[in-house]
């Protein structure tokens, strides 16, 4: 059995760890509220953008000559996967969940004999992927310096993607991120952004009435689609940051509870061994007195 001193030290170290996890939970909770708010505020923009694009692409008569960003390059050989993760750890299964989802998709692509290229956003994703897919990672981006998720950062990522698309470096682009459902549930998502896939559930927004376009449809589309890429990335980043904080909050909550349990257990052990020591001393004194 460990000595009393050792137990005492362990109890105090667990207690201070508990303090840290508790503080981290508080911080994550505060950040979560902000992240959630901005995720909600960001939704109207991306929804509206989606609607307009859907309306526009419906209006396009000449599907053959539609902008490449909408219909794709016509081939399906090289896949670009953008994996959005966090820059910081200690957030439970947040990063691993995205990576797991991404990895299974990577495997599928590679099994089909297609080329795989990866862009990682956030340093944790890079750390986890570099072991297996180092050769496939063509770019790693990290926004450690930016305090909040902002559109400017998302636009940077979007421009990189569009630039690579125009140079014909890939045919299909897929992004991976965590969608925020609530504090305990985040759903890893895979979303294809090039060529654009209209999600079926949005169909109710489609209006029957025709639009007037100024300038022509395809000109608007070619102006709008690059923006849509950035918008989708921004949306993913917002969802991600809310998910990250949520995930961290519940992870830290668990850690605090576990630390509490551990302190209880150690305290019981400490008291027992203290009592044992006292009993032992008493026995020694009594048996010493008896022998006189």
């Amino acid at each position: 059995m460990a000595s009393l001193d050792d137990l005492k030290k362990r109890i105090s170290s667990v207690k201070s760890t508990q303090k840290i996890t508790k503080a981290m939970k508080m911080v994550a909770a505060a950040k979560l509220r902000r992240a959630q708010e901005s995720a909600e505020k960001g939704r109207p923009y991306s929804n509206k953008m989606n609607n307009i694009i859907l309306n526009l692409s419906n209006g396009i008569a000449d599907k053959e000559n539609a902008p490449k960003l909408l219909i794709g390059s016509g081939e399906n050989k090289t896949h670009l996967c953008v994996v959005l993760t966090s820059d910081r750890g200690l957030c439970g299964g947040f990063n691993s969940n995205i990576i797991k989802k991404a990895k299974s998709y990577f495997q599928k692509i590679l099994n089909e004999g297609k080329t795989l290229k990866i862009i990682t956003v956030g340093s944790k994703g890079y750390d986890q992927l570099k072991r297996v897919y180092k050769g496939n990672i063509i770019e790693k981006i990290s926004f450690k310096e930016s305090k909040n998720t902002n559109y400017f950062d998302a636009d940077k990522v979007g421009k990189i993607i569009i630039d690579k698309f125009e140079k014909k470096e890939f045919d299909v682009c897929v992004i991976f991120y965590n969608q925020f459902k609530n504090v305990i549930t985040q759903i890893p998502q895979k979303q294809q952004i090039i060529p654009l896939q209209a999600s079926e559930k949005k169909e109710e927004f489609l209006s029957e009435d025709s639009y007037e376009f100024e300038p022509e449809e395809d000109e608007i589309l070619s102006n709008l689609l690059p923006k849509n890429i950035s918008t989708q990335i921004f949306k993913a980043m917002l969802e991600n940051s809310a998910s990250e904080q949520g995930s961290r909050m519940s992870a830290m909550d668990n850690a605090t509870r576990n630390a509490g349990e551990m302190v209880d257990k150690l305290t019981i052990e400490y008291n027992r061994s203290r009592q044992a020591a006292i009993t032992k001393e008493l026995i020694e004194i009594i048996s010493g007195a008896e022998s006189l």
Binding site: K41, P44, Y45, N55, Y211, E212, F213, L224
Partner: protein, 132 residues
């Protein structure tokens, strides 16, 4: 019937403005300024750098935008833009900075005609703003 319609301006970070008592909006559309009144036909267009003027019974509001897209449908005007500034609150330093940046960009010879047109527009608007 009232002659009012609804306007919503959103940027990626938040919903910037939402009003229901608008009588007229003048937007700097790509092919020239466009005035929108109630019961305008459904339209989609995009913006060049310029001033959005919003008229309501209470008066007139002006906003500076750099780009964006507008959709008008069922008497609801949606403006999606990445950058929008209230002219009353706009920072003079910001104007001169973006003016410098834009002027530098015009030096660049490889830009397309369309990009050049947009930058020229931007310079023009920024100059007029800095005079006020």
């Amino acid at each position: 019937m009232s002659e009012e319609f609804k306007i919503e301006i959103v940027n990626p970070e938040k919903s910037f403005l939402s009003k229901e008592d608008i009588t007229e909006v003048v937007i700097p559309a790509f092919e020239g300024e466009m005035g929108i009144l109630k019961d305008h036909i459904s339209i989609i267009s995009f913006l060049k750098p310029g001033i959005i003027k919003i008229y309501s019974k209470l008066g007139e509001d002006k906003y500076y935008v750099e780009d964006g897209i507008i959709e008008f449908k069922n008497n609801c005007l949606s403006i999606l833009t990445s950058d929008i500034f209230d002219i009353k609150k706009i920072d003079k330093n910001f104007i001169s900075e973006s003016l410098l940046k834009a002027e530098k960009e015009t030096q660049n010879k490889d830009i397309s005609d369309q990009a050049k047109y947009l930058i020229d527009q931007k310079i023009e608007v920024l100059k007029s703003l800095s005079l006020n």
